[in-house]
Amino acid sequence: MTAAISARGLARRFGAVVAVAGIDLDIPRAQIYGFLGPNGSGKSTTIRMLCGLLVPTRGSVTVLGHAVPRETEVVRRKLGYMTQRFSLWEDLTVAENLDFMARVYDVGREMRRARIAARISEYGLAPIAGQRAGTLSGGQRQRLALAAATLHEPQLLLLDEPTSAVDPQSRREFWESLFALVAAGTTILVSTHYMDEAERCHRLAILDRGRIAAEGAPKELARAIDATVIEIEAEDLVAARRALAALPEVRSVAQLGHRLHVLMRRDTPEPERRLSAALAPHCPDARVERVGASLEDVFVAATRLKDGDPKELAA
C-alpha cells in the first residue's frame, strides 16, 4: 500500500516570510505520525497545505493517492481535520453540531443516526448532548471536535495541536481514542509541542524553522541523537553551571530540580572524566553520570544546536 501522505520539496512563503522551507514527507498508513516543533516552526502551515487550505509555493504533495491541491475536493471526502482552535458552532448544541457535520459529509439519514449515537457513547458526550458547544470545557470541546471529525469515517485525520487547551487526564483519554482509531486503520497526523505526546507517536518529524530537523521513531531518534547526555548532581549548581559554560564541548545545560542536564558534543572523548575534571575546583562534591537521551534532548539537539548557532546555555 502506498504512503498516506508523501511530499517532496514542499515549501510555502508568506510574502518575505518562509513558513515551510522545502520538506519531504512519507507518512505510512494506519500509524500516528507526529509533528513536533515550537510555535512558528511550520507545523500548521504544512497541515494546511496537506488539506488544500493553502497552496504550496513549490513542491508536490500526494494525499491518499491524490495530488493536492489539484484533487483537493476528492481528498476532502476522505479526510478529517481538527483545527487548532475549536471551530464548531458554539451556539449549536453538541448533537446539532454532530448532525450538521454528518450532513455536510453526506452521511445518509440511517447511517447518520447510528454514527452520531456511536460517537456520543464512544466519546462520553451523552450527558452533554443537549448542551451548547460554547458552554463546554476544553476537554469536552475536544472530544466533540474529534467525534465531528470522524463521523464520515475518514481514512486520514489531521489534528493541529489538538490538546493545547486540555487538562492531562483529558489528554490521556484523547490519545487512547486516537489509538483506537489507528487500530481500525485510520492514519493520523498530529502536531504538538508536548514531549510526552510526541513520545506516543509511531513516528515523528521534528520541525524547526520550516525544515525537518530530525525524523524517525521516538526511540530511534533518542539512539541517534547527535550529543552525549550527562547529568550532574552538586550542592552549588550555580557554580557548576558557570564552570560548564567555559567548556567548548558543552552544547546545552538545563536544570532539572537538583540536577543539571548537559548535552555535550558527541565526539568528546571520555565525556564524564572531562566534566569531572572541569568541575572539581569549583564544586568538589559533583557527581557526574552519563544517561540515555530523552525526546526533549533530541528536540533540543535537533532544533537549537545546529551548526553555527550560539551555544545554548540559558535554558
Binding site: 494546511r48 488539506c51 488544500g52 487550505l53 493553502l54 497552496v55 491541491p69 483537493t72 475536493e73 476532502r76 471526502r77 479526510l79 481535520y81 483545527t83 482552535r85 475549536f86 471551530s87 464548531l88 458552532w89 458554539e90 451556539d91 449549536l92 446539532e96 450538521f100 457535520m101 450532513r103 455536510v104 459529509y105 453526506d106
Partner: protein
C-alpha cells in the same frame, strides 16, 4: 439530491443560529417598525396653509372658481385679494403673502387655446420649500377641469395618485427598500464574516461543501427575513398611514425578491473583502448612505446633479424604489418595468460573480 441536502443543512444551521440570537431577531422586526414610525410621522414634506394673494384681472365665474379650488387644496391658507399688480408685489415684499397668483383678463381664452400659461404664480424665492408648492399648484387638477388638454401636463399624473400630496404615501413604499438595504447587506456580510472570525470557516471549507452550497445555504434564510420585513412595512403602512397597495402583491414580492437577492449579493461580496465583522459593517455603511440619500428616497431623483444621478444608477435601491413605487402607488405591472428589472439583474449578476470569484475554499 445530496447537493440540495447539504444546502438545506447549511440553511437550517443558519436559521437555528439566528433563532438563538435574540438581539438580531429583535432587529429584524424592530428596524422596520421603528423606521416606519420615525419616517412616517416625523418626516413631513407637506406644506400647508401658505398665505397667498390673488390678483384676479378677469373677474369671471371661471376665475372665481379657480380661486375657490386653490383654497380647497389647503396648501394655501388665507387668500387675500389684491386690486393691482403693485399691491400684490407690495404684500409679497412685506411678507404678508408668500405666493402670488395672477389671473390674466383673458384667462378663459388662454385655457381654451392651451398654448400660453393660463395662470401666473409668483413665488417668494427666499423660502426654499415654496418653489415646490408652486409646482404643486401648477399641477393641480383644476386646470383639467377647466378644459385644458390633460396629456400636455405630465406632472398631473403624480398628483392624480397622491392628490393630497401626503408624504407617508411616498415614504412607505420607499421605506421597504431602505430597510432592506439597511438590514440585508449587514446581516449577510456579518453572517459570513462571523464564521471566519470564529474559525468556523476554516473547518467548513475543508469539508466537501461547495462554494455554491455554502453561499446559497447561508443566504436563503435572509430571503425569508427580507420578505418578513417587506410585509411588516406594508402592513404597518396600510394600518397606520392608509397606504394601500394598488398593484399586484405577486408582482410586489417578485420585485422584492430580486432586490433582496441583489442586496444579499452585495453583502456576500463585502464578506469576501472584510476580515472582521466590524470591517464588514463599515463597508456596508459606505454603500448604505449613498443608497438612502441618492436613490430618490430623500430627494427627487431629477433634481440631483448629473454625476449624482450616474452614481445613483449603480445603486440597486434606486431601481427598486422605482419598481415598488410603481407597484404600490400607481399599480404598474412588474412586466412593464423592464429597464429597472434589467439593471437590478445586472447588479445581482455582477456582484454574485465577483463574490464567487473572490470566495475560495482556501485560506491564502
Amino acid at each position: 439530491m445530496s447537493w440540495l441536502a447539504r444546502l438545506f443543512a447549511i440553511a437550517q444551521k443558519e436559521v437555528r443560529q439566528l433563532a438563538r440570537d435574540r438581539i438580531t431577531i429583535g432587529l429584524i422586526v424592530g428596524i422596520p417598525a421603528i423606521q416606519l414610525l420615525l419616517f412616517g410621522y416625523a418626516i413631513n414634506f407637506d406644506v400647508r396653509g401658505i398665505s397667498a394673494v390673488v390678483l384676479d384681472q378677469a373677474r369671471t365665474s371661471l376665475s372665481r372658481r379657480l380661486v375657490g379650488d386653490l383654497g380647497a387644496t389647503q396648501v394655501l391658507g388665507t387668500i387675500r385679494q389684491a386690486g393691482s399688480e403693485a399691491e400684490l408685489r407690495g404684500l409679497m415684499q412685506e411678507g404678508e403673502a408668500n405666493v402670488g397668483i395672477v389671473i390674466p383678463p383673458d384667462v378663459e381664452r388662454r385655457i381654451a387655446e392651451g398654448g400660453r400659461a393660463a395662470l401666473q404664480i409668483l413665488v417668494d424665492g427666499s423660502q426654499p420649500a415654496l418653489e415646490n408648492v408652486a409646482q404643486g399648484l401648477a399641477a393641480m387638477p383644476l386646470l383639467r377641469r377647466a378644459g385644458a388638454p390633460a396629456a400636455s401636463r405630465p406632472v398631473e399624473i403624480l398628483v392624480a395618485w397622491n392628490p393630497e400630496r401626503r408624504t407617508a404615501v411616498q415614504i412607505v413604499p420607499a421605506l421597504c427598500g431602505v430597510i432592506l438595504t439597511m438590514t440585508m447587506v449587514v446581516f449577510t456580510a456579518s453572517a459570513i464574516v462571523r464564521e471566519r472570525e470564529r474559525g468556523n470557516l476554516e473547518l467548513l471549507i475543508t469539508t466537501p461543501v461547495t462554494r455554491g452550497q455554502l453561499m446559497t445555504g447561508k443566504l436563503l434564510p435572509y430571503v425569508g427575513i427580507g420578505f418578513i420585513q417587506v410585509t411588516l412595512v406594508l402592513l404597518l403602512g396600510w394600518w397606520l398611514f392608509d397606504v394601500p397597495v394598488a398593484g399586484s402583491l405577486l408582482d410586489l414580492y417578485l420585485g422584492a425578491l430580486l432586490f433582496i437577492a441583489a442586496s444579499l449579493a452585495l453583502g456576500l461580496f463585502i464578506s469576501t473583502l472584510a476580515q472582521t465583522q466590524f470591517q464588514a459593517i463599515q463597508m456596508a455603511l459606505v454603500t448604505m448612505l449613498p443608497s438612502i440619500l441618492m436613490s430618490g428616497f430623500m430627494f427627487p431623483f431629477e433634481g440631483m446633479p448629473e454625476l449624482a444621478q450616474a452614481i445613483a444608477q449603480l445603486l440597486p435601491l434606486t431601481h427598486f424604489n422605482e419598481i415598488i413605487r410603481g407597484i404600490v402607488l400607481r399599480g404598474t405591472r412588474l412586466a412593464d418595468m423592464g429597464p429597472e428589472l434589467g439593471k437590478l439583474t445586472l447588479f445581482l449578476a455582477v456582484m454574485l460573480t465577483a463574490a464567487v470569484a473572490r470566495f475560495q475554499k482556501r485560506l491564502d
